[in-house]
Symmetry: D2
Subunit: 286 residues, 4 copies
C-alpha cells in the first residue's frame, strides 16, 4: 500500500508542498512541530475564575506550555452545560497570561471567530465541525493558528482536505489533532488511531498532536496513551486536567487530577528523550 491520496483533494497541505515539514509558532514562545513537545492541559470547560486560575498555576508548574479550556462548548444535548461564553474566554486568557501559558480554545460559530481570535493563541475546530466548511473558511481568513481535530468518522485524507480549506483561504498555520475515531467497543469512548501519526508524517507537512482524554474517556488510560503518542512521533498532547474531576461540569471521568498530570509530564519526558524529543522549556512565569 502506497501513501497516495485522492488526487487533488489537498495540495497546500501535502507533504510535497513542504518536504522539510512545517512548524507553527503560536506566541508566548511556543512552537508546535519543533524538537520540544507541545503540552496543552486544562479543564474541558472553564467553570469559574478560581477553577481556571488554580489549573493554570498547577499545569504551568508541572511543565505544560499551553492552557486549554472551553468557553463555547459543543454538547450532544441542548440541556447540558454550554459553557460560559465570552466571560469564560476572558478568564482563560487572564489565567494563562499570569502563568506564561499560551491559550487554546474552541470556536463553534463563524460569527464568534473574531472574539476567539482576540483571546486565544490557537483556535480549536472540534471533531463535530471538521467538515463545517463555513467555519473552516472563516478561521482561514485570519492569521491565527488553528488546531483542527479529526472527525469521529473521518479518513485521514478527508481530514487533510478539511485542513486544505483553511490553507487555501490564506491561513497556513494549521496543527492537526488526533482524538480517536468511532468504533464498536464500549471499553473506550473512541479508538485512538495512533498509526495516523506516521501516516500523516508521510502525507502532510503539518504538525500533529494527540488528545488521549477524549479518545479514551477514562482518566486511567490517559497516561499510557499519551506516552504511546509521543513514542509514535506526535508533536505534543492535549490533556484534560481539573482541580476536582468528580465535580467537573463535563467530562470529569476523563480528567486528570493535578498530581496525576505532574507525574504524566515527568514520564513523558523520559519517553521524549528516548525518541529524540524534549519537554517544553519552563517559562519564567510558571
Amino acid at each position: 500500500m502506497e501513501f497516495s491520496h485522492r488526487s487533488g483533494d489537498y495540495r497546500l497541505a501535502h507533504r510535497q508542498a513542504r518536504p522539510e515539514g512545517s512548524s507553527v509558532p503560536i506566541g508566548h514562545g511556543v512552537l508546535i512541530g519543533g524538537p520540544a513537545l507541545a503540552i496543552c492541559a486544562g479543564p474541558c470547560a472553564v467553570e469559574s475564575e478560581e477553577q481556571i486560575e488554580a489549573t493554570a498555576a498547577s499545569v504551568a508548574r508541572s511543565g505544560a506550555n499551553i492552557l486549554r479550556g472551553g468557553a463555547f462548548k459543543p454538547r450532544t444535548s441542548p440541556y447540558a452545560f454550554q459553557g460560559l461564553g465570552l466571560r469564560g474566554l476572558e478568564a482563560l486568557r487572564a489565567a494563562a497570561t499570569r502563568h506564561g501559558l499560551a491559550v487554546v480554545t474552541e470556536v463553534l460559530d463563524p460569527r464568534d471567530v473574531d472574539a476567539v481570535v482576540a483571546h486565544a493563541d490557537l483556535i480549536q475546530i472540534g471533531a463535530r465541525n471538521m467538515q463545517n466548511f463555513a467555519l473552516l473558511r472563516e478561521v482561514g481568513r485570519t492569521q491565527k493558528p488553528v488546531l483542527l481535530k479529526r472527525g469521529l468518522a473521518a479518513t485521514i485524507d478527508e481530514w487533510l482536505a478539511a485542513a486544505e480549506y483553511i490553507l487555501v483561504s490564506g491561513n497556513e498555520r494549521v496543527v492537526l489533532c488526533e482524538r480517536g475515531i468511532r468504533s464498536f467497543d464500549p471499553a473506550t469512548r473512541n479508538v485512538l488511531d495512533l498509526a495516523a501519526i506516521p501516516v500523516l508524517a508521510a502525507r502532510t507537512h503539518l504538525p500533529v498532536i494527540v488528545d488521549p482524554s477524549h479518545a479514551t474517556g477514562v482518566a486511567s488510560l490517559v497516561e499510557p496513551m499519551a506516552l504511546a503518542a509521543i513514542a509514535a512521533g506526535a508533536d505534543g498532547v492535549l490533556v484534560e486536567v481539573h482541580p476536582t474531576p468528580e465535580q467537573a461540569a463535563s467530562d470529569g471521568q476523563q480528567s486528570l487530577e493535578f498530581e496525576a498530570f505532574a507525574r504524566l509530564v515527568e514520564r513523558l519526558g523520559r519517553v521524549a528523550t528516548a525518541v529524540g524529543r524534549t519537554l517544553p522549556v519552563k517559562s519564567a512565569a510558571a
Copy 2:
C-alpha cells in the same frame, strides 16, 4: 433490549411527547408523515436552469412531490464544485413552482439561513452538520420545516439530541433522514441502517425519510434500497435524479436517469400498497 435513551438528552423529540406521532406540512400540499409518501427527487447540485427545469418536469410527471437540488454544496475538497449559490436557489425555486413541487435544499452557514428560508419549503441540514449546533439553533429560530440528516457516525440517540436543538429553539417542524453510516466495506459508500426506521418509531414522534442514493453511492442499488425503506416503514425517500448522470458535476455514479426514476416510483407504489401506504397524489401542475 428496551428502547431507552440517555435520560434527558431529548424530551420534545421523544415519542412520549406525542405518542400519536407527528406529521409535517411543508406547503404545496405536501404532508410528510401522513399516509402518502414523500418522494423527493432531483440532482445533487443545481448546475443550470436547463438542467433543473428538465429534471423538475420529469420527476413531477413520474410522481415526485418534492424537488431536491443543492445550491450550497458541502464538498470534501475545496477544489470541487461548490454549487451556484443564490443563483442556484432561484433556479430551483422557479422550476419547482412551474411543476407544482415543493423544494428541499441544504444550508451550510448560519448566515445563509434567511436566503434559504426565502426559497425553500424544507431546509436540509446535511450529515456533516448534524452537530453544527450554531446552525441547528439558527434554523430552530425560523418556522420553516427542517430535514435533519443523520451524521456518518451518529448514534440514533445523538441524532435525536441534535433534533432537540431545533425543537427547543422553537421550531417543531423536523423531519429526519437516514442516509447511511460509515462502515468498513467499500462495496457501498455507506451502510444504510434501515433498522433505524422502526427504532425511531419507538423513540420519537418525528417522521423519517431515507436517502438511498448517498447511502449506497451506486445507481443500481438505489431502487432495491428505496423499496426496502418503504417496506420498513419510512415516510418517504430522497433520490438523486439527473438528466445525464455521466455528465453530472457531482455524484453522477449514484444518480438515476429519468426513466429509471419513473420505474422506481411505479414499483414504490406496489410496495407502498403492500404496507398500507400510498404514493403522493399527482399535482395538477405536473
Copy 3:
C-alpha cells in the same frame, strides 16, 4: 463505482460462472433461490422435545418451510448454555419430519460434520466461523447444502471468497445469509446491511437469505426488517421463534411469539407479491 472484486479471490462463486443465477434444492420440496421464498423459523436453541415440537407445529401452520434450531451453540462465554448436542439434533429432525419441514442447523467442529449431515437438510456455518477454513473445507467435501452466514466484520468480497472454499472443495450448494455487521450504535445488536442483497446479485449467482433476528437483537424490529429484506430482493428469511421468548435459554429478547410470526408471514406475503415473489406452498404435513 463498478462491481469489481479482488481479482481471483472467487471464481466459481462469481456471477459470471452462472449468469442466470443458481437455486439450491435442499429436499422436502424446498428450493432456495426460486420464485417462492424460503422461510426458516424456530428457536435459537433446541431446549426440549416439547419446545421444538410445539414450535415446528406452529411455524409450519403459519407458512414456514424450514425449521431452524441450534444443537451445537457457539456462545461468547463458556459458562452459557452450549446446546443439547446430538440429542438436540435428533429432536429437531423428528419434529421437522412430523410437520413436513426441512431442517437447518449449525455445525461448529469439523469432527461433527458427519453427524449434522445425517440429520439436517441445510448445514449452517455461523458468522464466527465464516473464515474457519478447516470447517469450510469439511462441509465442502459433502454434497449437503450449506448456509454460509456473513462474518461480523467481513466485506462482501471476503464472504464470497469464503463461499469459494466450499465450492472449490466440490460442494456447489451454497446459500448466503446476511445477518448484520458490527457497528457503533448500541440501538441494535448489529447493523443489517440490506444493500448487500443487490450487491451480491451483481457479484455472485448464489441465493441469499436474511436473518433479521440476530441482526437487530430486538423482537419488535424483526418484522419491519424481514419485510425490507424481501423488498430488497432476498430469497428468504431466517427468523427466531419461541413458544415463550421470556423463558428462552438464549436470545429470548429477539425471538417472536407464535402469533407474531404468523402475522409476519402474512405481511411477508403481501410484500412478496409486490416484488414478484410468492410465499412457500404449504406442505400437506403442515
Copy 4:
C-alpha cells in the same frame, strides 16, 4: 466509566483471579509478562529452509527471542498460498533451535493441534479463529502456551471470554495479542487499538503483546507502532521480517528487511528503558 465486564463471561481470566498479574514461561528461557520484553520476529509464512534459516539467524542476532512463521496459513482466498504444512513446521523448529529461539506458529484445525504442539513453544490462534470454540477447547486440553489474537470485530470482553474457553479447559498459559480492529479508513489495514493494553491490564492478569505488522499492513508504520505499544505497556511485539519482502509469498508490503528490524530493536530498547522494561537477554546461540 468503570472497568466492568458482562458478569460471569470470564472468571479465571479476570484480574481479580490473580491481582498480581501472570507471566507465561514458554521454554528456551523466554518468559512473557516479566520485566524483559518478548520480541517475536519472522516471516508471515515459512517458504523454504533457506528463507527461515536466514531470517532466524538475523533476528536472533538483532535481539529477538521468539521466531514466528506460518506453516498452516489462513488465507482469504482458496487460491492463495496456503503454507508448507508439516514440512514448514519442521523447518521452523530446526531454524529456531539452531539460533536459540522459541517458536510461535498458528494452528487452524483442531486435528492439527498435536502436530503443532510437538514443534512449537507458543501456539497461535489467529484473529479469524478467536471464536472458533472447538479449536479453543482443543488447545485448552494441552499444557502448551497459547497466543490468542483479538478478532477483527471483537470487543475486549468477548476476547477475554474466548481466553476463558482455553483456561476453563485446563490450560492456564494464555498470552493475548492485539493486532488491530476493523475500521473505515483504508490508510491502514486495520486500526491498532493500543488503549486495549491498559484496559486489559485492569480487566485481566494475562500478558499482552502487539502485532504492528498485521495491524497496519505497511512496513513504514511498523516501527512507530511498535515503539508506541511498548510505551503503552505491552509485554512484547510480534513483527514480520523477511529477507526480501518484495518477493514474499504473502504480506510482503508489511514485512521489514533485516536491517530495519535491527534498527527497530535498538529503538525499542530505548523506549523500554524509559518505561522501566528491558530488551530480552541475548541467548548464547544467537
